[in-house]
Symmetry: C2
Subunit: 244 residues, 2 copies
């Protein structure tokens, strides 16, 4: 079934189709479909567009990635299914590798996701699973020695739970893309982008191009001026404005 | 993995497990998992408990079902996976048949859902698919002559789209259980229960027992005093109160 571009919820429906396709290909797990639905509701409440609080966070996130020594972008099944091509571009602009990291782990699934990414133009994909992050109980502890393990900044997206907190305890800076401004991940991250990855990733690529000429001082100022609590507060207020 | 009852999100996690199990058994479709996630976010925002606006709607819904000549409860894959046993009880208390009605239709899937319900104690399950409701384009138009086709009141749950409007145009009263107070279904129904079916269905069974002794006049008064717009407004305000 072809969805007409004129449909008022075109992007939401195309996104859903991408995810169901990723599911059929063994990239996305059933729990990932439910998680996607949770995000859809927040996106719907926010008007399915990039809000000001997300723009500010995206800008700070790009600045932080650009000044980091070893930035890494963590990719799970949902992220691969939704924005593989867009992640290829962002990864190049930021000179940051993509690392496959999943909650529902199997060697086959990780390889399938890595292959899916590479087929879509991702050139720097890590998935060795040759190191472990202390303090994480589940499979997300399995990381790549050249990637998350030795990273100073990790960008995560579309994930639940406690990983963000443990990455921080391991001395890393964390950028999270999470549509729920009340989630544990949102609250624990250094920078929380409350936006749909479908919009956030290409916007960050665009920002990375614009900001590539900036001096280190300018980038550092963007990061130090950034206030994540304010961003989260504005996002929660946007939910409230629904009723006004 | 056994989820401990002490877990703060125990019911949400058990519900999710039931749904994934229904999915593995061919009762639930991938799109149903995404739809469930959408509901989860609203439930989370509402505090995962029955709010006052839901209680009022449940009471009016039970009254309306009790005074109806031919009430029917429409059941889709998600509803069967989540509350089959609870629907068996409600169906008996209200003397209303359950009718299997799905968006993603196949004869096999309908029969699988009907069987799933009957195995869990549902005694009056309709799924003949021997009539059609005019005006509905998709498979939800396929109904049972003894059920939705000839019903005066139809209770629907966990569904998207335009069916509610068309049922009303066909002269039926509609009760909807929908966690999104802004949805088309929520707005078009005569009575909208903004609650999780996991709580709403057993609560309605309890109410049906309490209200079975009431006179027709008393029940009619409950229905005529009920104001759905007020209920929806209160539900939207509850979303807003998140930020206060």
């Amino acid at each position: 079934m072809k969805i007409p571009r004129s449909h008022p919820r075109y992007f939401s429906l195309v996104t859903r189709e991408k995810l169901v396709e990723g599911f059929r290909r063994g990239i996305v797990v059933p729990e990932g479909l439910i998680a996607h639905g949770r995000g859809e509701t927040f996106d719907y409440i926010f008007g399915e567009r990039t809000r000001d609080f997300a723009e500010r966070a995206e800008r700070a996130a790009v600045a932080l990635m650009l000044i980091s020594e070893r930035p890494v972008i963590s990719v799970n099944g949902n992220a691969a299914a939704l924005v593989a091509e867009e992640l290829a571009e962002l990864s190049e602009e930021l000179r940051a590798p993509l690392e496959v990291n999943v909650f529902h782990w199997s060697r086959e699934r990780v390889e399938r996701i890595a292959e899916f990414l590479m087929e879509r133009g991702c050139k720097n994909v890590l998935f060795a699973g040759d190191a472990v992050i202390e303090g994480i109980e589940h499979a997300r502890r399995i990381v790549d020695r050249r990637g998350i393990y030795s990273a100073d900044t990790v960008m995560v997206m579309l994930e639940d739970g406690d990983r963000c907190e443990i990455l921080r305890r391991n001395g890393k800076r964390v950028i999270a893309i999470d549509l729920n401004p009340l989630s544990r991940t949102a609250k624990m991250a250094d920078i929380t982008i409350v936006n749909n990855v479908i919009r956030a990733i290409p916007e960050m690529t665009e920002l990375a191009r614009e900001m590539s000429e900036m001096s280190r001082d300018e980038l550092e100022k963007i990061v130090s001026d950034y206030d994540n609590r304010e961003v989260l507060r504005d996002a929660v207020r946007a939910i409230a404005s629904l009723a006004l």
